[in-house]
């Protein structure tokens, strides 16, 4: 297989890599670029653990080819904190204990970031629907929903 040369932007930085044509963006992020925030839960689009934002749209990176990132903007969980300064969602996930094993957390954080970018004051129902593509086997979701509500309040300056 011939490698594909890709130039893309990840969390604001220009990145170039070579990948195999059948390699997923998730594999590229984790195995080639060392960005191990996005997780592989299922590899088939069901769990959302691999969520990233591609050109402003939330997607499962396990269902995107690495080659498809050419010329596009990718946002991953690694881009959420600024140095030591956590993103409000990250801070609220900690405060509300919205994680146990944590494997689903990067996906939830990115999905919640996308949700709040489009809807800064979601209702509980909107949060639950908005995050329905992310599965968590530990928390029972309630704490995640509370953390997102609280982060939304904080981000609106309320």
């Amino acid at each position: 297989m011939a490698g594909v040369a890709v130039s893309t932007t990840i969390n604001g930085d220009s990145v170039e890599y070579l990948c195999q044509p059948d390699e997923t963006l998730l594999e590229v992020l984790r195995d080639r670029l060392g960005l191990t925030g996005a997780k592989e839960g299922c590899g088939t689009g069901d769990c959302g653990a691999c969520s990233v934002i591609l050109d402003g749209r939330l997607v499962c990176s396990c269902l995107v080819l690495g080659a498809e990132a050419e010329g596009r903007q990718v946002e991953t969980v690694e881009g959420m904190a600024h140095g030591e300064q956590l993103h409000p969602l990250q801070q609220k996930f900690l405060e509300h204990a919205a994680l146990q094993c944590g494997i689903c957390t990067p996906g939830f954080l990115i999905a919640a970031k996308d949700l709040l970018a489009k809807n800064p004051s979601p209702t509980e129902e909107e949060i639950r629907f908005g995050l329905a593509g992310n599965l968590c086997r530990c928390t029972g979701y309630d704490k995640i929903v509370r953390a997102v509500q609280d982060a939304a309040n904080m981000m609106r300056g309320a």
Binding site: Q20, L63, L65
Partner: protein, 286 residues
Amino acid sequence: MRYIRPLSIEDAVGTLASSARTAAILAGGSDLLVRMKGGFVEPDLIVDIKAVPGLGDVQETAEGFRIGAAVPSAVLGENTALKKAWPGVVEAARLIGSKQVQGRCTIVGNLCNASPAADSVPAMVAAGAKAVIVGPSGRRTIPVETVPAGPGRTTLAKGEIIEAILLDKRPPHAGDAYLRFIPRTEMDIAVVSAGVNLTLDEKGAVKTARVALGAAAPTVLLVEEAAEVLVGSKLDEATLERLAKVCSGACRPIDDKRGTIEFRRKVAGVLARRAAVTAYQRAGGK
């Protein structure tokens, strides 16, 4: 395996037509990549159509709407004019998968994957949607219901690509609706589904109707007898009963873990009836 991203439809068609080996068209990848990972398909060539100019656009034309083959469902949901004209088609497209899948999945991919349970397909068929196909011998436009040939198979020839889906301009007093039954509220495959599209006359009686059922047979079913039941009526109780009965009778479903034949038949009727009522209300009928 090779991955290419052609910059014109002619290029894409030419490459597909001349490739001796197995080639696959990539739109949103939410079926194709899952099938590749599962080892169900092993294409030698992937033709990503998303860089072909125009395929990512929804255009409002004098005849209606032209939805490019690479437009993801999320974008359809943000198009106010399309939602107003064809709420049933848009709600069906919006039912596919999660928010993550919505950012990628296309109605053309949904159609060409040819699952009997594909959500957008009964809605498109009820809407009388047409597929614009480009191939080695030129362009042709065919009704959407003639695309699926059976589970996982289409009538497209080698080298053919669906370029766009066409939806007609709406006359006054028109409405459509799509409903599916799943055991959960989100993220599941339709056990059975129904799409209904109506136009009404000035007095509120049904002038034209199209009724389509999903997951009720190997391919989407356009139930012409159901349309005949509706035409001329104002969806009174007796008409709705007959509609449900005709739809249940038209089903040729399978028995599987999702539902029995008997259950699918019954629910097909119930959904057709409810979708008809919603379409009627959306058309302004009372």
